[in-house]
């Protein structure tokens, strides 16, 4: 268990626009404490993905500051930005983002290989077992179902034991049972390993599993819920949409 007092990611006044005039993020300030599990909710187009990208150093804000484990990543140029990111953060994308030409096993170990660290195979095997993919190590992503691929992407994020995992709608394409299993896995990672998780979701039930829910609308944080339940998350969401 990590000291949940320290901050892993801190965004201060982050603004980002893709097309002039429309702000995908509009002066967002938020911190994610170590070992916390945060859900990000909001209507479609409200800036959830953009927030995750900026927080993870995948994208550069127009203004504002992003600290990742205390390091200001706004000033980093490539390839140092990538190095900083991959050392600390794992990402689960909406589109899974697996390599077609690599097996499940090689996909899971890929970030560690790229980071040049000796892969922790025992842990990777353990993670694969937990996402119920043991025995499918040699399969290609193309041979898996959507839910299975989502779990490979999760296993990949977990296998590198990052300080923080960003997950963009990780249960979106999953059936109920698999979605629950994934969520349980996240919970476990937070509780047992002290991993910090920031997860975008549309589902109040999923959000209810988190320690905190941040609501976004039009690129601004409009609500911040702690100790959420599915009911409170749903109600708050209704309020945001109705605004």
């Amino acid at each position: 268990m990590r000291d949940s007092g320290t901050t892993v990611v801190e965004l201060t006044g982050v603004t980002k626009s893709y097309t002039a005039g429309i702000r995908a993020l509009d002066g967002v300030s938020v911190t994610f404490g170590s070992g916390s599990f945060t859900a990000v909710m909001g209507p479609s187009g409200s800036g959830k993905s953009t927030l995750l990208h900026c927080a993870a150093g995948l994208d550069r804000p127009d203004s504002g500051r992003v600290l990742l484990a205390g390091q200001d990543i706004g000033g980093l140029r490539e390839p140092r930005l990538t190095r900083a990111r991959r050392r600390r953060a794992g990402f689960v994308f909406q589109s899974y983002n697996l390599m077609d030409s690599l097996s499940v096993w090689d996909n899971v170990l890929l970030p560690q290989r790229l980071a040049g660290v000796r892969p922790d195979r025992a842990w990777a095997r353990d993670v694969l077992r937990r996402v119920q993919l043991d025995g499918r190590e040699h399969a290609r992503p193309a041979q898996l179902s959507g839910g299975q691929r989502q779990r490979v992407a999760l296993a990949r994020a977990l296998a590198a034991r990052p300080e923080i995992i960003f997950a963009d709608e990780p249960t979106g394409a999953l059936d109920l049972a698999t979605g629950r299993a994934v969520l349980a896995l996240f919970r476990e990672a937070v509780d047992d390993l002290g991993t910090t998780i920031v997860m975008v979701t549309h589902d109040p039930v999923t959000a209810g599993q988190a320690d905190r829910v941040v609501f976004l609308a039009d690129g601004r944080i409009v609500a911040d819920l702690t100790e959420p339940t599915p009911e409170r998350a749903a109600a708050q969401m209704m309020a945001v949409v109705a605004r």
Partner: protein, 837 residues
């Protein structure tokens, strides 16, 4: 469908760019090669020396053989095969007199044309404009063009009139050498055709009519030209002439020019074979590359095709879409490719004119049908390749579009194996049954290469699977990039194959051509050296050496042996087909041999005999003692007995005839070189007795002029071929890289730095290049080793280590560059990961 095709084209300009580039270049090369070949095939002699004559009679300029075979049921089949001669048979001396009596004939001129070596008394050689040959005539022939006097007067015996072009470079006295000897004649006049200084492609000198027969050494005229009254019925006259002319040719209109001495007209036989080869080579490479490019770019769009399937498109609609797209792309490419083809043809022709591979008068004609044919061929190939590649792609399940990747349903292995088996069998048959040491050797070794390349392309993914294992184990060590490159290349066999095949093409086609040509040149050179090794020195004369003078050279005091050779061409028949060969007239004197042909069987010399190369003897199934009909340069047939079989024929000729026979029947009939064995101060004595003679210790002279020209042609062909295949390599790499944007974006998101991706691309390029070079070296090795073994029984694979290394380095370097450059554009060094995959 066209509208959808148009919109998908607009939406995917990038992914069609590769196909467009390949189609543009392919069409340009096909059009360029086609225009050159068509132009050279239809090239007419640049000027008509008989422009003023109505009808011209000339001896046949070809050997014509008619074979009649009786098949079962009394079906009689008649085949006529001809072969053109380098000389011309002379006509009966009294023919002109008989023809003059025909109605409407105002004059019948007995025309003599004889190749002349002209020079100034101080030994300067005089050639026509652009190095054209100088042809001697009697003054009576001047009226046939007509040449009219610009100054001076008609020649009397011992005098000469020059055309205005030659006159500019000549002095008062001209030294002329023909097979009958050397004479000094006084220049007394200058004549020229109307409006120009001379005829293109032939310089003309006019001797007195009383002199010309003796100078030419012929009993009769080479042609009889009839001048007719204005308004005379040429057709009726020609018919009347035909009755009197026997088997001689009767020429009217545009055909009259063909009555001129073959040696006086530019020769397009060399260019025809070179341009035929240009078209064959570029055509193959273009079609090969285009097919590969289209297949690759269709496969790169599987995802999009799958999406169309989910949107309700039937497989048939997708097939039609692919077809329509490809025709549109190739059609647009044709708009640029056809004009580019004209440029290609013009540039090549200009260079070939410079190299004297084609006569200076050669012009590229823009035949619309060639351009259309090239465009249609390009479009057909693109269409067929797209449909073929699409055949499997469109069967893609719509659900594939929903998943992350679209995978091609595994292609049938059987058709691939079948294609590979057929093409390999073809190559093996060619390499086994065609005599590669013959005139077809180089061409056939190229065809075998092409067939093997088709087999490699068909088996591509299989071969790549075999090779990437061991290669990537070596090249994939160390670092994440190496690890990843090994995995990716092993997984993406098709893509690796698609990119490696152009490398195989580039290496094999060019290496085979370079190495085989180098081998032939080396062998010719070493055989030349071995042939002339016994001689103390070689004697030649830039201004021309006739047989009589050569005999005097051979008879110089102190000479113990001499070998006088006269280059010529003769025709021998095989299976009813006359075929022309390079030959030499040979006269040996003295007791010490001065020429070593490496006689394998029999002995050189003896009246009414000839010797033949081992190759020719084998081809014809001759045996020493056989009597063989041989047509000499003027079409005169002699029966000669085979007295010897010799080995060293390269750069020399396949037949050796008595020198006197060649001198008598080749209108040029001059000595090429005299090999001498002597002791003491023979050179000084020679210089005194035969002024202008050149004595060289050994025959250090390079290949004969003709061979040197051909060499220039080959080199230019190499440049075209290297250039095109290099573009193909770069193009394929670019297509493969650009279509991997998604994959690269994914890797960046998974934590790869741009530098790592660049290193990954380098490793992958290294592996691909290694695969390509390995396959290329195998194809090259098979062809070159077989070719080499056929030449002299020695199996060589590398032939010329420097050339081989240069090819490896050049092709490999280009492949690495082509693999590295596009990724630097797709993934700039400082770029952020692309989030929109």
């Amino acid at each position: 469908m066209m509208r959808l095709a148009l919109s998908t084209l607009r939406g995917h300009r990038g992914s069609h760019l590769g196909t467009f580039v390949a189609a543009l270049l392919a069409i340009a090369l096909l059009a360029g090669g086609g225009l050159l070949l068509a132009s050279v095939l239809t090239a007419r002699p640049p000027a008509d020396r008989f422009a003023a004559a109505a009808v011209v009679v000339a001896g046949p300029h070809e050997v014509k053989l008619t074979t009649t075979t009786t098949k079962k049921k009394d079906k009689v089949k008649t085949k006529v095969k001809t072969e053109t001669l380098t000389g011309s048979r002379t006509l009966p001396a009294d023919l002109a007199g008989r023809l003059a009596a025909l109605p409407s004939v105002t004059a019948a001129v007995a025309d003599v044309a004889v190749p002349v070596r002209a020079g100034t008394p101080d030994g300067r050689v005089l050639r026509g404009a652009d190095g054209a040959p100088v042809i001697g005539h009697g003054w009576a022939s001047a009226a046939l063009t007509p040449y009219t006097l610009r100054s001076g007067r008609p020649p009397n015996p011992g005098e000469v009139v020059l055309d205005a072009d030659l006159a500019r470079r000549a002095g008062d006295t001209l030294v002329i050498t023909t097979r009958t000897g050397t004479r000094q004649v006084r220049v007394v006049g200058v004549a020229a055709p109307d409006g120009r200084d001379g005829l293109p492609a032939q310089g003309a000198i006019f001797l007195a009519d009383a002199d010309i027969g003796a100078v030419a050494g012929t009993a009769g005229p080479t042609a009889v030209a009839l001048l007719a009254a204005p308004g005379a019925d040429t057709a009726a006259l020609a018919a009347a002439v035909r009755d009197l002319a026997g088997d001689a040719g009767v020429h009217t209109g545009a055909d009259r020019v063909r009555a001129d001495l073959p040696g006086a007209l530019p020769d397009y036989i060399g260019p025809i074979s070179i341009f035929g080869f240009v078209l064959g080579l570029t055509g193959f490479a273009a079609v090969f590359v285009l097919t590969g490019t289209v297949t690759l770019s269709v496969r790169q769009r599987l995802r999009e095709l799958a999406l169309l399937r989910t949107a309700g498109a039937t497989p048939g609609q997708l097939r039609r879409l692919l077809g329509a797209e490809s025709v549109l792309v190739a059609g647009v490419a044709a708009l640029g490719g056809a004009p580019l083809g004209i440029v290609v043809a013009e540039v090549v022709a200009a260079r070939f004119r410079q190299l004297a591979v084609v006569p200076a008068q050669f012009e590229v004609r823009t035949y619309a049908f060639v351009l259309v044919a090239a465009a249609v061929a390009g479009m057909l190939v693109t269409f067929a390749a797209a449909r073929l590649a699409g055949r499997r792609a469109v069967r893609i399940a719509p659900t594939q579009a929903l998943t992350e990747t679209a995978n091609v349903p595994a292609g049938g292995l059987a058709p691939r194996l079948l294609v590979a088996a057929v093409t390999t069998a073809g190559a093996v048959a060619l390499l086994t049954f065609v005599p590669l040491d013959g005139p077809l050797g180089i061409g056939m070794s190229f065809v075998a290469t092409a067939l093997l390349l088709c087999a490699v392309a068909a088996l591509g993914p299989l071969l790549v699977r075999l090779l990437t294992g061991p290669i990537s184990r070596v090249l994939g060590t160390g670092g994440a990039a190496g690890w990843l490159a090994a995995l990716v290349t092993r997984a993406e066999r098709r893509r690796v194959a698609a990119v490696a095949v152009p490398l195989v093409l580039m290496f094999a086609v060019n290496a085979v051509m370079l190495l085989n040509n180098a081998l032939v040149a080396d062998l010719a050179e070493s055989e030349q050296a071995a042939r002339t090794a016994p001689a103390t020195a070689q004697v030649s004369m830039p201004a021309g050496l006739d047989l009589g003078t050569a005999r005097r050279v051979a008879g110089t005091d102190g000479v113990t042996g001499a070998a006088i050779t006269l280059p010529t061409r003769v025709v021998v028949a095989q299976g009813g087909k006359p075929q022309d060969y390079a030959a030499q007239g040979l006269l040996t004197t003295g007791t010490a041999p001065a020429l070593d042909l490496s006689v394998r069987e029999g002995a050189l010399g003896g009246p009414e005999t000839f010797a033949a190369s081992a190759y020719l003897t084998r081809q014809h199934g001759w045996h020493v003692g056989d009597e063989v009909p041989v047509w000499l340069a003027d079409g005169h047939q002699v029966r000669l007995r085979l007295s010897a079989v010799y080995e060293r024929a390269r750069g020399f000729g396949d037949l050796v005839l008595p020198a006197g026979l060649v001198a008598a029947h080749d209108p040029a009939g001059l000595v090429g070189a005299v090999g001498l064995r002597y002791t003491g101060d023979v050179p000084a004595r020679l210089a005194a007795t035969v002024p202008g003679v050149r004595v060289t210790p050994a025959l250090g002279a390079g290949p004969a002029g003709d061979a040197a020209n051909q060499q220039g042609g080959w080199e230019l062909l190499m440049v075209i071929s290297l250039g095109f295949t290099a573009i193909a390599v770069v193009n394929t790499f670019a297509i493969a890289t650009v279509s991997r944007r998604r994959e690269y974006a994914g890797l960046r998101l998974a934590g790869a730095t741009p530098g790592q991706l660049h290193r990954l691309a380098l490793r992958e390029a290294l592996i691909t290049v290694a695969v390509g070079l390995t396959l290329g070296a195998i194809v090259t090795g098979v062809v070159v080793a077989t070719f080499s073994t056929a030449q002299d029984g020695i199996t060589r694979i590398v032939v010329d280590p420097l050339t081989y290394l240069a090819m490896i380095g050049g092709v490999g370097g280009l492949g690495l560059l082509a693999g590295l450059l596009p990724i630097r554009l797709v993934v700039p060094r400082r770029s952020l990961p692309a989030l929109e995959a």
